[in-house]
Symmetry: C2
Subunit: 248 residues, 2 copies
Protein backbone atom coordinates (compact mmCIF):
# COMPACT_ATOMS: atom_id res chain seq x y z
CA UNK A 1 0.00 0.00 0.00
CA UNK A 2 2.83 2.38 0.81
CA UNK A 3 3.93 2.09 -2.78
CA UNK A 4 0.71 3.63 -4.00
CA UNK A 5 1.22 6.90 -2.23
CA UNK A 6 2.78 10.22 -3.01
CA UNK A 7 3.30 9.95 -6.71
CA UNK A 8 2.93 13.70 -6.73
CA UNK A 9 5.38 15.09 -4.19
CA UNK A 10 3.40 16.75 -1.46
CA UNK A 11 5.49 19.51 0.04
CA UNK A 12 3.98 21.34 2.97
CA UNK A 13 3.56 24.58 1.06
CA UNK A 14 2.80 23.46 -2.49
CA UNK A 15 -0.58 21.96 -3.13
CA UNK A 16 -0.46 18.93 -5.39
CA UNK A 17 -2.08 19.52 -8.76
CA UNK A 18 -5.61 18.24 -9.07
CA UNK A 19 -6.80 16.55 -12.19
CA UNK A 20 -9.52 18.13 -14.30
CA UNK A 21 -12.10 15.76 -15.65
CA UNK A 22 -14.61 15.41 -18.36
CA UNK A 23 -17.11 12.81 -17.26
CA UNK A 24 -18.59 10.40 -19.71
CA UNK A 25 -21.42 7.95 -19.38
CA UNK A 26 -21.27 4.60 -21.16
CA UNK A 27 -24.26 2.28 -21.41
CA UNK A 28 -24.28 -1.48 -21.68
CA UNK A 29 -27.74 -2.00 -23.15
CA UNK A 30 -29.02 -5.55 -23.26
CA UNK A 31 -32.08 -6.91 -24.93
CA UNK A 32 -33.46 -10.38 -25.39
CA UNK A 33 -34.74 -11.46 -28.77
CA UNK A 34 -37.17 -14.14 -27.73
CA UNK A 35 -37.95 -15.20 -31.28
CA UNK A 36 -34.40 -16.21 -31.99
CA UNK A 37 -33.32 -16.89 -28.41
CA UNK A 38 -30.48 -14.45 -28.48
CA UNK A 39 -29.05 -12.05 -25.96
CA UNK A 40 -28.20 -8.81 -27.72
CA UNK A 41 -26.04 -5.81 -26.91
CA UNK A 42 -26.40 -2.40 -28.49
CA UNK A 43 -23.27 -0.99 -30.11
CA UNK A 44 -22.68 2.14 -32.17
CA UNK A 45 -20.11 2.91 -34.82
CA UNK A 46 -17.65 5.67 -34.00
CA UNK A 47 -17.33 8.43 -36.61
CA UNK A 48 -14.59 10.40 -34.91
CA UNK A 49 -11.11 9.85 -33.66
CA UNK A 50 -10.01 8.19 -31.52
CA UNK A 51 -11.05 4.70 -32.52
CA UNK A 52 -12.67 5.93 -35.69
CA UNK A 53 -14.47 3.08 -37.41
CA UNK A 54 -14.65 0.93 -34.29
CA UNK A 55 -17.82 -0.25 -32.66
CA UNK A 56 -18.31 1.08 -29.16
CA UNK A 57 -20.82 1.20 -26.36
CA UNK A 58 -23.20 4.14 -26.70
CA UNK A 59 -21.97 6.99 -24.54
CA UNK A 60 -21.85 10.71 -24.10
CA UNK A 61 -20.19 13.40 -22.05
CA UNK A 62 -22.11 14.86 -19.15
CA UNK A 63 -23.45 18.34 -19.72
CA UNK A 64 -23.81 21.26 -17.39
CA UNK A 65 -26.64 20.78 -14.94
CA UNK A 66 -27.16 17.18 -15.96
CA UNK A 67 -27.03 14.29 -13.50
CA UNK A 68 -25.25 11.05 -14.33
CA UNK A 69 -28.50 9.19 -14.56
CA UNK A 70 -30.02 11.86 -16.81
CA UNK A 71 -27.05 11.55 -19.10
CA UNK A 72 -27.46 7.79 -19.20
CA UNK A 73 -31.13 8.10 -20.13
CA UNK A 74 -30.25 10.70 -22.74
CA UNK A 75 -27.78 8.42 -24.52
CA UNK A 76 -30.31 5.68 -24.50
CA UNK A 77 -33.05 7.89 -25.89
CA UNK A 78 -30.75 9.14 -28.63
CA UNK A 79 -30.19 5.60 -29.88
CA UNK A 80 -33.44 3.76 -29.33
CA UNK A 81 -37.06 4.52 -28.67
CA UNK A 82 -38.25 2.29 -25.90
CA UNK A 83 -40.85 2.62 -23.17
CA UNK A 84 -39.97 -0.17 -20.77
CA UNK A 85 -36.54 -0.63 -19.36
CA UNK A 86 -34.39 -1.18 -16.33
CA UNK A 87 -31.30 0.96 -15.78
CA UNK A 88 -28.74 1.23 -13.03
CA UNK A 89 -25.19 2.38 -12.46
CA UNK A 90 -22.54 -0.23 -13.07
CA UNK A 91 -19.01 0.89 -12.31
CA UNK A 92 -16.76 3.89 -12.70
CA UNK A 93 -13.60 3.60 -14.75
CA UNK A 94 -11.31 6.48 -14.10
CA UNK A 95 -7.65 5.62 -14.34
CA UNK A 96 -5.30 7.87 -16.27
CA UNK A 97 -4.43 6.84 -19.85
CA UNK A 98 -7.81 5.25 -20.50
CA UNK A 99 -8.53 7.66 -23.30
CA UNK A 100 -6.01 8.54 -26.02
CA UNK A 101 -7.39 12.08 -26.01
CA UNK A 102 -5.65 12.63 -22.70
CA UNK A 103 -2.18 12.44 -24.19
CA UNK A 104 -2.04 15.29 -26.71
CA UNK A 105 -3.33 17.99 -24.38
CA UNK A 106 -0.82 19.70 -22.20
CA UNK A 107 -3.32 20.68 -19.53
CA UNK A 108 -4.05 17.13 -18.50
CA UNK A 109 -7.76 16.70 -18.91
CA UNK A 110 -8.77 13.24 -17.82
CA UNK A 111 -11.72 11.25 -19.12
CA UNK A 112 -13.65 9.36 -16.52
CA UNK A 113 -16.49 7.11 -17.45
CA UNK A 114 -19.41 6.10 -15.32
CA UNK A 115 -20.82 2.99 -16.90
CA UNK A 116 -24.46 2.04 -16.69
CA UNK A 117 -26.27 -1.16 -17.35
CA UNK A 118 -29.69 -1.37 -18.99
CA UNK A 119 -32.15 -4.03 -20.03
CA UNK A 120 -34.80 -3.03 -22.55
CA UNK A 121 -37.81 -4.68 -24.13
CA UNK A 122 -36.70 -5.94 -27.51
CA UNK A 123 -39.92 -5.97 -29.51
CA UNK A 124 -40.67 -2.32 -28.88
CA UNK A 125 -37.09 -1.09 -29.13
CA UNK A 126 -36.82 0.90 -32.30
CA UNK A 127 -33.31 1.88 -33.35
CA UNK A 128 -32.86 5.50 -34.30
CA UNK A 129 -30.77 5.50 -37.45
CA UNK A 130 -29.88 9.15 -37.28
CA UNK A 131 -28.05 10.18 -40.43
CA UNK A 132 -24.90 8.27 -41.23
CA UNK A 133 -24.67 6.66 -37.85
CA UNK A 134 -24.21 2.95 -37.62
CA UNK A 135 -26.04 1.31 -34.78
CA UNK A 136 -26.73 -2.36 -34.25
CA UNK A 137 -27.75 -5.14 -31.94
CA UNK A 138 -24.97 -7.70 -31.64
CA UNK A 139 -25.43 -11.16 -30.19
CA UNK A 140 -23.26 -11.16 -27.10
CA UNK A 141 -21.04 -13.98 -28.31
CA UNK A 142 -20.28 -12.16 -31.56
CA UNK A 143 -19.40 -8.72 -30.28
CA UNK A 144 -16.20 -7.57 -31.99
CA UNK A 145 -13.31 -5.68 -30.49
CA UNK A 146 -14.72 -2.42 -29.20
CA UNK A 147 -13.20 1.02 -28.72
CA UNK A 148 -11.42 2.02 -25.49
CA UNK A 149 -11.90 -0.45 -22.64
CA UNK A 150 -15.47 -1.13 -23.68
CA UNK A 151 -15.09 -4.90 -23.91
CA UNK A 152 -14.13 -4.89 -20.26
CA UNK A 153 -17.16 -2.76 -19.40
CA UNK A 154 -19.34 -5.12 -21.39
CA UNK A 155 -18.20 -8.22 -19.56
CA UNK A 156 -18.73 -6.41 -16.31
CA UNK A 157 -22.25 -5.58 -17.45
CA UNK A 158 -22.98 -9.15 -18.45
CA UNK A 159 -22.03 -10.37 -14.99
CA UNK A 160 -24.35 -7.82 -13.48
CA UNK A 161 -27.17 -8.82 -15.82
CA UNK A 162 -26.98 -12.43 -14.70
CA UNK A 163 -26.86 -11.47 -11.04
CA UNK A 164 -29.73 -9.07 -11.31
CA UNK A 165 -31.86 -11.49 -13.25
CA UNK A 166 -31.28 -14.22 -10.70
CA UNK A 167 -31.87 -12.10 -7.61
CA UNK A 168 -34.08 -9.18 -8.61
CA UNK A 169 -37.39 -8.88 -10.42
CA UNK A 170 -35.94 -6.95 -13.36
CA UNK A 171 -37.43 -9.40 -15.83
CA UNK A 172 -40.84 -7.91 -15.21
CA UNK A 173 -39.65 -4.45 -16.24
CA UNK A 174 -38.99 -5.79 -19.67
CA UNK A 175 -41.77 -8.29 -20.19
CA UNK A 176 -45.15 -7.14 -21.56
CA UNK A 177 -47.82 -6.26 -19.03
CA UNK A 178 -49.21 -9.76 -19.22
CA UNK A 179 -47.06 -12.72 -20.12
CA UNK A 180 -46.99 -16.48 -19.91
CA UNK A 181 -44.68 -18.41 -17.65
CA UNK A 182 -43.18 -19.81 -20.80
CA UNK A 183 -42.20 -16.29 -21.86
CA UNK A 184 -40.57 -15.74 -18.51
CA UNK A 185 -38.77 -19.05 -18.64
CA UNK A 186 -37.47 -18.34 -22.10
CA UNK A 187 -36.10 -14.97 -21.02
CA UNK A 188 -34.19 -16.66 -18.24
CA UNK A 189 -32.82 -19.43 -20.41
CA UNK A 190 -31.52 -17.06 -23.10
CA UNK A 191 -29.61 -15.07 -20.52
CA UNK A 192 -28.52 -17.74 -18.07
CA UNK A 193 -28.31 -20.77 -20.32
CA UNK A 194 -30.51 -23.86 -20.46
CA UNK A 195 -29.21 -25.59 -17.41
CA UNK A 196 -30.34 -23.41 -14.56
CA UNK A 197 -33.61 -25.12 -13.83
CA UNK A 198 -36.30 -27.48 -15.00
CA UNK A 199 -39.37 -25.67 -16.37
CA UNK A 200 -41.87 -27.26 -14.04
CA UNK A 201 -39.78 -26.52 -10.98
CA UNK A 202 -39.27 -22.98 -12.20
CA UNK A 203 -43.07 -22.65 -12.36
CA UNK A 204 -43.81 -23.89 -8.89
CA UNK A 205 -41.00 -21.93 -7.29
CA UNK A 206 -42.17 -18.65 -8.79
CA UNK A 207 -45.88 -19.17 -8.24
CA UNK A 208 -45.28 -20.12 -4.63
CA UNK A 209 -44.29 -16.52 -3.80
CA UNK A 210 -47.67 -15.22 -4.83
CA UNK A 211 -46.66 -12.04 -6.66
CA UNK A 212 -47.65 -13.42 -10.04
CA UNK A 213 -51.37 -13.17 -10.51
CA UNK A 214 -53.28 -15.19 -13.02
CA UNK A 215 -55.35 -12.85 -15.18
CA UNK A 216 -57.72 -15.66 -16.08
CA UNK A 217 -57.11 -14.98 -19.74
CA UNK A 218 -55.34 -17.44 -22.00
CA UNK A 219 -53.22 -17.14 -25.07
CA UNK A 220 -52.82 -19.61 -27.86
CA UNK A 221 -49.69 -19.50 -29.99
CA UNK A 222 -49.77 -22.22 -32.63
CA UNK A 223 -49.84 -25.77 -31.42
CA UNK A 224 -50.10 -26.82 -27.84
CA UNK A 225 -52.35 -26.04 -24.94
CA UNK A 226 -53.07 -22.33 -24.45
CA UNK A 227 -51.03 -20.71 -21.68
CA UNK A 228 -52.38 -18.61 -18.84
CA UNK A 229 -51.45 -14.97 -18.88
CA UNK A 230 -49.94 -13.66 -15.67
CA UNK A 231 -49.32 -10.18 -14.38
CA UNK A 232 -46.57 -9.05 -12.01
CA UNK A 233 -48.17 -7.66 -8.88
CA UNK A 234 -45.87 -5.00 -7.47
CA UNK A 235 -47.87 -4.58 -4.26
CA UNK A 236 -47.72 -8.28 -3.51
CA UNK A 237 -43.99 -8.22 -4.18
CA UNK A 238 -43.30 -5.22 -1.95
CA UNK A 239 -43.08 -7.09 1.39
CA UNK A 240 -40.76 -9.66 -0.20
CA UNK A 241 -38.33 -7.25 -1.77
CA UNK A 242 -35.83 -7.28 1.09
CA UNK A 243 -35.87 -11.02 1.51
CA UNK A 244 -33.10 -13.04 -0.04
CA UNK A 245 -34.90 -14.39 -3.09
CA UNK A 246 -33.71 -16.51 -5.92
CA UNK A 247 -35.69 -16.20 -9.12
CA UNK A 248 -33.52 -18.87 -10.68
Amino acid sequence: MAGRLQKTPDHPLTKPALADFKVGVENVIFSVDTDQNRLLVLVVMRHEAPYLGYWSLPGTLVRQGESLEDAAYRVLAEKIRVKNLYLEQLYTFGGPRRDPREAPHAFDVRYLSVSHFALVRFVEAELIAGGVSGIAWYPLAQVPQLAFDHNQILSYGYQRLRNKLAYSPIAFDVLPDTFTLGDLYQLYTTVLGESFSDYSNFRTRLLKWGFLQDTGRKTSRGAGRPASLYRFNAEAFEPLKDKPMVFI
Copy 2:
Protein backbone atom coordinates in the same frame (compact mmCIF):
# COMPACT_ATOMS: atom_id res chain seq x y z
CA MET B 1 -38.08 9.28 -19.89
CA ALA B 2 -38.76 11.94 -22.46
CA GLY B 3 -38.91 14.45 -19.61
CA ARG B 4 -35.32 13.76 -18.74
CA LEU B 5 -33.96 14.91 -22.02
CA GLN B 6 -32.72 18.13 -23.55
CA LYS B 7 -32.43 20.32 -20.52
CA THR B 8 -29.74 22.14 -22.46
CA PRO B 9 -31.19 23.13 -25.83
CA ASP B 10 -29.33 21.24 -28.48
CA HIS B 11 -29.38 23.23 -31.68
CA PRO B 12 -27.81 21.60 -34.71
CA LEU B 13 -24.93 24.02 -34.83
CA THR B 14 -24.26 24.87 -31.19
CA LYS B 15 -22.67 22.21 -29.10
CA PRO B 16 -24.25 21.88 -25.67
CA ALA B 17 -21.93 22.97 -22.88
CA LEU B 18 -20.14 20.15 -21.14
CA ALA B 19 -19.65 20.15 -17.43
CA ASP B 20 -16.16 20.35 -15.94
CA PHE B 21 -15.52 18.14 -13.00
CA LYS B 22 -13.31 17.78 -10.03
CA VAL B 23 -13.42 14.18 -8.95
CA GLY B 24 -13.38 13.25 -5.31
CA VAL B 25 -13.00 9.93 -3.61
CA GLU B 26 -14.87 9.20 -0.40
CA ASN B 27 -14.16 6.16 1.75
CA VAL B 28 -16.53 4.29 4.00
CA ILE B 29 -14.03 2.56 6.27
CA PHE B 30 -15.38 -0.11 8.55
CA SER B 31 -13.67 -1.92 11.36
CA VAL B 32 -14.84 -4.42 13.93
CA ASP B 33 -13.85 -3.98 17.55
CA THR B 34 -14.08 -7.56 18.71
CA ASP B 35 -13.40 -6.70 22.35
CA GLN B 36 -16.47 -4.58 22.64
CA ASN B 37 -18.51 -6.19 19.87
CA ARG B 38 -18.96 -3.00 17.94
CA LEU B 39 -18.99 -2.15 14.27
CA LEU B 40 -17.10 1.09 13.76
CA VAL B 41 -16.89 3.66 10.98
CA LEU B 42 -14.06 6.11 10.49
CA VAL B 43 -15.06 9.77 10.33
CA VAL B 44 -13.00 12.94 10.19
CA MET B 45 -13.76 16.46 11.32
CA ARG B 46 -13.93 19.09 8.62
CA HIS B 47 -11.79 22.18 9.16
CA GLU B 48 -12.86 24.10 6.09
CA ALA B 49 -16.04 25.39 4.58
CA PRO B 50 -18.39 24.05 3.45
CA TYR B 51 -19.71 22.04 6.39
CA LEU B 52 -16.99 23.37 8.68
CA GLY B 53 -17.18 21.61 12.02
CA TYR B 54 -19.14 18.65 10.68
CA TRP B 55 -17.97 15.08 10.72
CA SER B 56 -17.54 13.57 7.31
CA LEU B 57 -16.26 10.49 5.55
CA PRO B 58 -12.55 10.72 4.78
CA GLY B 59 -12.07 11.86 1.22
CA THR B 60 -9.83 13.69 -1.17
CA LEU B 61 -9.73 15.10 -4.67
CA VAL B 62 -8.06 13.05 -7.37
CA ARG B 63 -4.67 14.36 -8.48
CA GLN B 64 -3.06 14.43 -11.86
CA GLY B 65 -1.89 11.01 -12.94
CA GLU B 66 -3.61 9.30 -10.05
CA SER B 67 -6.13 6.51 -10.50
CA LEU B 68 -9.34 6.37 -8.50
CA GLU B 69 -8.14 3.40 -6.56
CA ASP B 70 -4.81 5.06 -5.83
CA ALA B 71 -6.64 8.08 -4.48
CA ALA B 72 -8.76 5.85 -2.29
CA TYR B 73 -5.68 4.15 -0.86
CA ARG B 74 -4.04 7.52 -0.33
CA VAL B 75 -6.93 8.87 1.76
CA LEU B 76 -6.88 5.74 3.79
CA ALA B 77 -3.15 5.90 4.38
CA GLU B 78 -3.38 9.55 5.40
CA LYS B 79 -5.80 8.70 8.18
CA ILE B 80 -4.76 5.33 9.49
CA ARG B 81 -1.79 3.04 9.39
CA VAL B 82 -2.99 -0.45 8.64
CA LYS B 83 -1.51 -3.44 6.87
CA ASN B 84 -4.50 -5.64 6.21
CA LEU B 85 -7.59 -4.43 4.51
CA TYR B 86 -10.17 -5.00 1.84
CA LEU B 87 -11.16 -2.15 -0.47
CA GLU B 88 -13.47 -1.84 -3.43
CA GLN B 89 -15.43 0.77 -5.33
CA LEU B 90 -18.91 1.42 -4.04
CA TYR B 91 -20.92 3.88 -6.08
CA THR B 92 -20.51 7.18 -7.89
CA PHE B 93 -22.52 10.17 -6.80
CA GLY B 94 -22.49 12.87 -9.39
CA GLY B 95 -25.65 14.92 -9.56
CA PRO B 96 -25.45 18.69 -9.76
CA ARG B 97 -25.93 20.66 -6.51
CA ARG B 98 -24.37 17.94 -4.38
CA ASP B 99 -21.66 20.27 -3.23
CA PRO B 100 -22.25 23.84 -2.10
CA ARG B 101 -18.95 24.82 -3.68
CA GLU B 102 -20.61 24.47 -7.07
CA ALA B 103 -22.85 27.48 -6.57
CA PRO B 104 -20.49 30.43 -6.06
CA HIS B 105 -18.36 29.76 -9.11
CA ALA B 106 -19.52 31.17 -12.39
CA PHE B 107 -17.71 28.60 -14.50
CA ASP B 108 -19.76 25.68 -13.28
CA VAL B 109 -17.30 23.23 -11.87
CA ARG B 110 -19.06 20.14 -10.63
CA TYR B 111 -17.94 17.85 -7.84
CA LEU B 112 -18.34 14.18 -8.47
CA SER B 113 -17.55 11.64 -5.85
CA VAL B 114 -16.56 8.05 -6.37
CA SER B 115 -17.21 6.33 -3.08
CA HIS B 116 -15.23 3.35 -1.89
CA PHE B 117 -15.84 0.82 0.79
CA ALA B 118 -13.13 -0.62 3.02
CA LEU B 119 -12.84 -3.05 5.87
CA VAL B 120 -9.70 -2.88 7.98
CA ARG B 121 -8.24 -4.84 10.85
CA PHE B 122 -9.11 -2.98 14.01
CA VAL B 123 -6.34 -4.00 16.41
CA GLU B 124 -3.58 -2.88 14.08
CA ALA B 125 -5.32 0.24 12.81
CA GLU B 126 -3.50 3.21 14.23
CA LEU B 127 -5.19 6.56 13.74
CA ILE B 128 -2.96 9.32 12.44
CA ALA B 129 -3.76 12.37 14.52
CA GLY B 130 -2.09 14.86 12.24
CA GLY B 131 -2.03 18.28 13.83
CA VAL B 132 -5.39 19.70 14.81
CA SER B 133 -7.35 17.16 12.85
CA GLY B 134 -10.18 15.34 14.54
CA ILE B 135 -10.53 11.73 13.52
CA ALA B 136 -12.54 9.04 15.24
CA TRP B 137 -14.11 5.63 15.08
CA TYR B 138 -17.85 5.89 15.58
CA PRO B 139 -20.09 2.95 16.35
CA LEU B 140 -22.36 2.67 13.35
CA ALA B 141 -25.52 3.25 15.34
CA GLN B 142 -24.17 6.49 16.82
CA VAL B 143 -22.86 8.22 13.72
CA PRO B 144 -24.06 11.83 13.76
CA GLN B 145 -25.26 13.89 10.84
CA LEU B 146 -22.42 14.04 8.36
CA ALA B 147 -21.39 16.61 5.78
CA PHE B 148 -22.74 16.53 2.23
CA ASP B 149 -24.64 13.37 1.35
CA HIS B 150 -22.26 11.25 3.38
CA ASN B 151 -24.94 9.61 5.50
CA GLN B 152 -26.44 8.24 2.32
CA ILE B 153 -23.05 6.97 1.18
CA LEU B 154 -22.55 5.38 4.57
CA SER B 155 -25.80 3.46 4.49
CA TYR B 156 -24.96 2.32 1.00
CA GLY B 157 -21.62 1.10 2.29
CA TYR B 158 -23.18 -0.73 5.18
CA GLN B 159 -25.43 -2.67 2.82
CA ARG B 160 -22.41 -3.62 0.77
CA LEU B 161 -20.50 -4.69 3.87
CA ARG B 162 -23.22 -7.13 4.86
CA ASN B 163 -23.51 -8.53 1.36
CA LYS B 164 -19.79 -8.93 0.95
CA LEU B 165 -19.37 -10.57 4.31
CA ALA B 166 -22.14 -13.04 3.59
CA TYR B 167 -21.02 -13.97 0.08
CA SER B 168 -17.30 -13.27 -0.17
CA PRO B 169 -14.31 -14.27 1.92
CA ILE B 170 -13.45 -10.69 2.93
CA ALA B 171 -13.43 -11.62 6.60
CA PHE B 172 -10.10 -13.37 6.08
CA ASP B 173 -8.51 -10.18 4.81
CA VAL B 174 -9.09 -8.61 8.15
CA LEU B 175 -8.58 -11.48 10.56
CA PRO B 176 -5.11 -12.32 11.87
CA ASP B 177 -3.15 -14.96 9.99
CA THR B 178 -4.39 -17.63 12.34
CA PHE B 179 -7.67 -17.34 14.15
CA THR B 180 -10.23 -19.41 15.96
CA LEU B 181 -13.65 -20.19 14.61
CA GLY B 182 -14.97 -18.24 17.57
CA ASP B 183 -13.13 -15.15 16.31
CA LEU B 184 -14.68 -15.61 12.91
CA TYR B 185 -18.13 -16.14 14.36
CA GLN B 186 -17.84 -13.05 16.49
CA LEU B 187 -16.88 -10.94 13.49
CA TYR B 188 -19.97 -12.11 11.68
CA THR B 189 -22.29 -11.52 14.60
CA THR B 190 -21.10 -7.96 15.21
CA VAL B 191 -21.76 -7.06 11.60
CA LEU B 192 -24.82 -9.11 10.79
CA GLY B 193 -26.46 -9.36 14.20
CA GLU B 194 -26.87 -12.33 16.51
CA SER B 195 -29.60 -14.08 14.66
CA PHE B 196 -27.99 -15.18 11.43
CA SER B 197 -26.89 -18.61 12.52
CA ASP B 198 -26.22 -20.97 15.36
CA TYR B 199 -22.51 -21.29 16.22
CA SER B 200 -22.31 -25.04 15.76
CA ASN B 201 -24.02 -24.91 12.39
CA PHE B 202 -21.76 -22.05 11.36
CA ARG B 203 -18.79 -24.28 12.25
CA THR B 204 -19.83 -27.29 10.27
CA ARG B 205 -20.92 -25.28 7.25
CA LEU B 206 -17.59 -23.49 7.00
CA LEU B 207 -15.37 -26.49 7.70
CA LYS B 208 -17.23 -28.54 5.11
CA TRP B 209 -15.77 -26.42 2.30
CA GLY B 210 -12.24 -27.34 3.24
CA PHE B 211 -10.47 -24.01 2.77
CA LEU B 212 -9.91 -23.57 6.50
CA GLN B 213 -6.95 -25.60 7.62
CA ASP B 214 -6.34 -26.54 11.19
CA THR B 215 -2.83 -25.48 12.18
CA GLY B 216 -2.79 -28.01 15.00
CA ARG B 217 -2.02 -25.26 17.45
CA LYS B 218 -4.43 -24.24 20.16
CA THR B 219 -5.09 -21.04 22.00
CA SER B 220 -6.42 -20.58 25.47
CA ARG B 221 -8.12 -17.35 26.40
CA GLY B 222 -9.28 -17.43 30.01
CA ALA B 223 -11.83 -20.03 30.93
CA GLY B 224 -13.09 -22.69 28.62
CA ARG B 225 -11.62 -25.30 26.39
CA PRO B 226 -8.75 -24.06 24.19
CA ALA B 227 -9.72 -23.38 20.60
CA SER B 228 -7.97 -24.66 17.50
CA LEU B 229 -6.25 -22.08 15.39
CA TYR B 230 -7.19 -22.12 11.72
CA ARG B 231 -5.62 -20.57 8.69
CA PHE B 232 -7.40 -19.46 5.51
CA ASN B 233 -6.03 -21.45 2.61
CA ALA B 234 -6.25 -19.30 -0.50
CA GLU B 235 -5.23 -22.12 -2.85
CA ALA B 236 -7.95 -24.40 -1.54
CA PHE B 237 -10.45 -21.58 -1.89
CA GLU B 238 -9.48 -20.74 -5.46
CA PRO B 239 -11.60 -23.39 -7.25
CA LEU B 240 -14.60 -22.40 -5.14
CA LYS B 241 -14.45 -18.68 -5.72
CA ASP B 242 -16.91 -18.63 -8.61
CA LYS B 243 -19.41 -20.89 -6.94
CA PRO B 244 -22.40 -19.32 -5.26
CA MET B 245 -21.30 -19.57 -1.65
CA VAL B 246 -22.93 -18.42 1.51
CA PHE B 247 -20.59 -17.80 4.41
CA ILE B 248 -23.57 -16.94 6.55
